[in-house]
């Protein structure tokens, strides 16, 4: 049912309105809440996010339409990613609550930034106009720049924020420049308008091609595709761990969704060109990401490189194209969300806030000290490695299928070869946890209730989607574009 007033489609606008209002309400409420009563803020933020989630799911199964003067698409694809973004923000809030307590950071601004970020993600998920895309991206990015530097007493956090900001704004600049060139070529910023104007032009229009190239480079920065990935390990390592989780999972999901919508919606004419570029990027990303991860001795950096590598696999599905491709992108992103968020949640639980325990040696013998935490980490590692019966396996199956069907067998072969490399370093973590003795007697803090909640959710979905992939999600009816 669509609700509209004054000619504005309120159903489409509702989640964004609620998120924006919620963020400001959290800020105001923060003024009146004492430091030891911060739990109230987390609950408030969580309730608001739950409301936004319900509102975003409101349009599920409704008629596909483009609202706000050709700016934003409201379809199944949008609904799915908007809901995913809000859910990730919710998980982020839950994961952060006790982390902030342990590290002595302020709550209200932190939650507000996370929620603003989520609003940006929702905008990006639906954007089908280059300007709106940039607005969503900037809303998300500005929130993340601040969040990355939120542990401002820690030097590495400051460094992360600055690096992220500099490279992030640089890539935003490239995107804007690219958008301007595309406008020059097509005379419009609507995806459908661009597609119509450039129909039949294809590779013949240099202005369009340069614009497309610049836009792709901007996306490559955001998605950390090799060779535009240099900022990721430092930023991921320096940022507070729950922020890293939020960043690695949420950003990746919606930026991929936006990329898929952009290239298929606006540039079908130049398909040959962008597929060629993305195929090369995918291969490089899988190879460099996985090989670099092997030599990491720090688990957070290892996960950072693993996040880079996973972007390569998802890109492989984008390259494969068609219904198989977009299904694979969606499924991989869902899988990636639960397993990667879970892995970062374990990192949060193992550290004690002041001192983060991130070297591989800190995980030695974890199975003895905290068997359930160890088992959860093992599940996430095996899933990231793509071992059945976890969700990671089906995700890999989907992307290989998409790549081979699209005629990119060589890309699938690269994916297979790098998967073997990946299996090695994920197993290295499992080996440390299970096979080696603790280096020193150290105290693992008992995970708080909120951390346990996040871990249970992540483990549940990692295994549930692995064993019964069809239970919650009818995979044959994944929304296409």
């Amino acid at each position: 049912m669509n609700v509209s007033a004054l000619g504005i489609d309120l159903t489409a606008l509702a989640p964004i309105l609620v998120l924006g209002g919620l963020a400001m309400a959290v800020l105001v409420l923060g003024l009146f809440v004492k430091k030891d009563g911060a739990g109230v803020l987390a609950w408030f933020a969580l309730l608001g996010l739950a409301a936004a989630l319900v509102l975003s799911l409101w349009s599920w199964g409704g008629t596909d339409r483009i609202v706000f003067g050709q700016m934003m698409a409201v379809d199944g694809f949008y609904t799915l990613f908007a809901a995913l973004a809000i859910a990730v923000a919710g998980l982020g809030v839950v994961l952060s609550a006790s982390y902030l307590d342990r590290s002595g950071l302020t709550h209200a601004e932190y939650y507000a930034l996370m929620i603003f970020g989520a609003a940006g993600m929702v905008v990006m998920a639906g954007a089908c106009n280059l300007i709106l895309l940039l607005v969503g991206l900037e809303l998300l990015s500005l929130s993340l720049y601040v969040l990355a530097g939120f542990a401002r007493t820690r030097l590495s956090s400051q460094e992360a924020a600055l690096k992220y900001f500099l490279l992030g704004s640089f890539s935003a600049g490239l995107l804007i420049y690219g958008a301007a060139l595309v406008y020059g070529a097509a005379g419009t910023l609507d995806y459908s308008g661009v597609a119509k104007a450039t129909q039949g032009l294809g590779g013949a229009n240099p202005l369009l091609l340069v614009g497309l190239g610049l836009i792709l480079v901007g996306f490559a920065f955001k998605l950390a595709l090799v060779p535009f990935h240099m900022w990721v390990p430092d930023v991921y390592e320096g940022a507070p761990t729950p922020v890293t989780a939020y960043m690695a999972v949420g950003t990746k999901a919606v930026v991929f969704a936006a990329l898929l919508r952009l290239v298929t919606g606006a540039f079908p004419a130049a398909r040959a060109e962008w597929v060629a570029i993305l195929a090369v990027l995918a291969a490089l990303t899988m190879i460099v990401g996985n090989v670099a991860a092997v030599v990491q001795g720090n688990v957070k950096r290892l996960l950072a490189y693993s996040a880079i590598a996973h972007a390569g696999y998802i890109l492989m599905a984008v390259v494969g194209g068609g219904k198989a491709g977009s299904d694979a992108v969606i499924f991989y992103l869902l899988a990636y969300t639960v397993m990667n968020f879970g892995a970062f949640a374990v990192l949060v639980a193992v550290g004690d806030g002041r001192e983060e325990r991130l070297s591989l040696q800190d995980y030695a013998g974890l199975a003895r000290q905290s068997p359930w935490l160890a088992a959860a980490m093992a599940v996430f590692m095996l899933s990231l490695a793509g071992v059945p019966p976890t969700v990671g396996f089906w995700a890999k199956l989907y992307v290989f299928n998409a790549a081979i069907q699209g005629g990119y067998l060589w890309l699938a072969l690269v994916g297979i070869a790098t998967s073997v490399v990946a299996a090695y370093y994920y197993l290295k973590v499992v080996v440390a946890i299970y096979f080696t003795d603790p280096v020193s007697e150290k105290l693992i803090l008992k995970p708080t209730g909120s951390m346990v909640a996040v871990l249970v959710v992540a483990v549940f979905f990692t295994l549930q989607m692995g064993l019964l992939p069809g239970l919650f999600l009818n995979l044959s009816q994944l929304p296409g574009l």
Partner: protein, 515 residues
Amino acid sequence: MSQGGPAILSLLIVVPVVGALIAPFLDRRRPGLIKGWALVISLLAAGLAVLMAADFRSGFADMQWEEHLSWLPALGISYHVGVDGVSVLLVALTAFLTPVAILAAWKEMEGRAKEYTVFLLLLEAGMIGAFVALDLALFFVFWEAMLIPLVLLIGVCGGERRVYAALKFFIYTAVGSLAMLLAIVGLAIQYKGQTGQYSFDLQQLAGMQVPPDVAFWMFIAFAVAFAIKVPVFPLHAWLPDAYTQAPTAILVLATMMVKVGTYGLLRFGLTLFPQQMVAAAPVFLTLGVIGVVYAGLVAIVQRDVVRLVAFSSVGHMAFIVLGIFSLNQQGISGATLQMLNHSISTGGLFILAAMVNERTRSTRIADLGGLAERWPVMAALFTLVLFSSVGLPGLNGFVGEFLILLGTFQAEPVAAVIAGSGVVLAAVYLVWMFQRTMHGADSGRGAGTRDLSGREVLTLIPIVAMVVWIGLFPTTLLGKMEASVGTLVIQAQKAAQVQTDGRAAAALSQFQVDR
């Protein structure tokens, strides 16, 4: 064809999994309780499996106890299981040997009862699943799922170089697995190209015509994955390390796991790629012969009992490969029977080596000697199992090896003659090892320890019983598998016929061109 009744194959998978899931909640301070739980669960599964095998209708080549449930319809993946005359025996033996392994590892399990219980039961479920899966995606899931518990068993409970051995084992297998996964996806896409929808179902994929050059690469991917698992020479490098570092008593199950490789060649190789199997037969026969002789020679010079038995295992598996690639009724029947025998005999030897190790704290041959006088019961049982492994007539090993050599001789006489020397080599290294450890001067190690306890005798009774029973009445088992083996052989013969016809046609056209 279904016997009706309960979904016994699913039950065989679910029972150990449930057992493994409950085990972590048992009290860690009461290892006896945990071990008892493991034993009860494994006995339950064994009972079910033996009932199933006894109820299996001989003379039918079709799958029995089939179950078919939709799993991931978007990709045409289903939960499809069933057993024929070959797999029913492998399933039954897997379930039968699991309680034996648990009993054999009873003492080793003491400190890590929970880990052992969880891993052993999951390993059992994974293996049974791999033997009964009739959907390629489902097979792959079980294929990987059985790998993880064994890697963890080696890594957590193994010897000094356990981490190295576990990683090596994992990486070797992962390389093969991923290549196979690609081929599986490729098959499903081929099917979609021809019929418009995906399918991973073995029976549906079997009738499909795949372009020969594509089928060639797919077969290579499958063959490499299976050959690593078996392991076929020269891909065997993971095995000696994995076997020596794993807890010795549970190796009886590891010898069952490698059967998934040989079973895979029969079930998936012959069903999906009969022509490529026929074409590849000379290569595999050669590798098999090399494997038999090489493993025999290497085993002779081993200084450690476990390592020696590990190499003897490589040699025996090479025999099975010979039997499979002879592609006739005798060879494949012998190979199937030998798949059972090898786990019984070699598994029995590993259990005995573990029993020696418990007493002497060493399995180095130089450290041992004159044990027979001290432990006469053990020596007697050791002799029996040893001769079963050598292939003495009247015991189980003889029947299988004889059939394999018979089959190989029909296919390639030279291969059979050279492989025959493997039997002699087996006698040399095993009997010589026995002489140096059980007889000769007493080394004094393990002095004061007792002969076999009641629990240990109970562990070995099922092994010895199988050794004698199969040796005397092989027709019971051969009868169960006969019809199914026949179907496999017909597939191979058809493929061979096609190739001969093709060659004749090519020659004819060449002839006409020449004219």
